[in-house]
Symmetry: C2
Subunit: 237 residues, 2 copies
């Protein structure tokens, strides 16, 4: 559906190009919102993410897609932006409950803050974010208590908040498993072939199949009993 024909309240949806944020954008559309999709060029090693974000925003009918440069690499500290090796083939027990080297300090805080700025500039009071507290329990900024604190803080930070308005931060996936997210996405018509989750894709942009993000995604498709449309690198067997 073309943007200009849409009705409904405006929201800001953070779209990374990954599976979770695609389902989140679809949830926002299903709830009747017109969506401003926002993606970040933050010095990530794998720019193929942003191409996926553009495809997802278009396919799901975002009225606008903002790609903002925020140079998080200037402070470093993560395997996603620096020359730290992305861990591969880790067991589930190892992934769970620890803060991984792929953690980017304060990333969701920075991204949500930017989203609040976009929302205020567009007159929107709703922000959709695809965080998940089940699969990513090791990331502090995916916890519900952080999201609640942020909504409060962002209301105080902005003109809308100063005038009595407040932001509503929607995290429809926060309590869902990856398999549940995939099944919900299929219900909503999300084409997962457009999405990209891998932390360490090959030169053609194909997924490595072995990083934590690939492992979670693969397991999600298996548990959902759904065919995985991901293009894996030929080196992954």
């Amino acid at each position: 559906m073309e943007g200009r024909e849409q009705q409904g309240r405006l929201c800001v949806a953070l779209v990374s190009g990954g599976l979770d944020s695609a389902v989140t954008l679809a949830e926002a559309r299903a709830a009747g919102f017109r969506c401003v999709a926002v993606s970040f060029e933050y010095g990530q090693r794998h720019i193929v993410e942003l191409e996926a974000a553009g495809r997802v925003a278009k396919a799901l009918g975002a009225v606008e897609h903002i790609v903002a440069r925020i140079d998080i690499r200037a402070f470093g500290g993560s395997a996603l932006t620096d020359d730290i090796a992305v861990p591969k083939d880790r067991a589930e027990e190892v992934m769970a409950g620890e803060i991984p080297v792929t953690y980017v300090p304060a990333r969701n805080l920075i991204f949500l803050s930017y989203a609040a700025g976009v929302a205020e500039s567009r007159g929107a009071g709703d922000i959709f974010l695809g965080v998940n507290a089940v699969d990513y329990s090791g990331y502090p900024d995916c916890r519900p208590e952080f999201i609640e604190a942020f909504a409060q803080c962002a209301g105080l930070a902005t003109k809308a908040g100063a005038e009595g308005g407040a932001f509503r931060i929607h995290t429809p996936l926060i309590e869902m498993t990856k398999a549940e997210i995939i099944l919900r996405g299929l219900e909503l018509g999300v084409d997962f072939g457009l999405t990209h989750s891998c932390y360490d894709p090959d030169e053609s942009g194909r997924a490595c199949g072995r990083c934590d993000s690939c492992a979670l995604r693969r397991r999600g498709f298996v548990e959902a009993g759904v065919v995985d449309p991901t293009q894996y690198s030929p080196e992954f067997r």
Copy 2:
């Protein structure tokens, strides 16, 4: 004093190039902190600010100066980043208590979030910010209740917070008038000739003398009974 010779705990200090953040950095140094100065290239119309920030960081002995690009212009909405005219020659009553067109949506929220990321990456738990609730009462993100909410939120967003640490956000100027800030800066040895406050400098980087920021700064020097070292444009009489 050279960075490598310094002792003390590390902090992050946001340095805009203006008068307030220079005094704030000096306060952090006087309190015994080693300081990572952070400035933003956010699409501001007057890049002369960043040159001033570099001079201030160096003169006050910051151990490191990070200039990060955050493209706030991508969402627009302020006379500081867009082609909206900067207001001139406004009476005090007009400036006070309203949200001016120079307000950039969620700017302090975005900047503090970035500072929290830098702090976490460097192992610092303290952030210094030169906000002021007296002169800038119209900016929602200069209010003490916002600062308190942010400290809480940033603690929850980060690894340090998840492990029981919390951020301390220092706003030493928050209750001071501009004249008090100037007098305190002089006590601390700040050279205000290095700083830049104007929203609309001329081509040589000289202050217009007539925007809200110039007006507050000029009045501050008058009230402090101190010579104003600002280089004003010859058009300003």
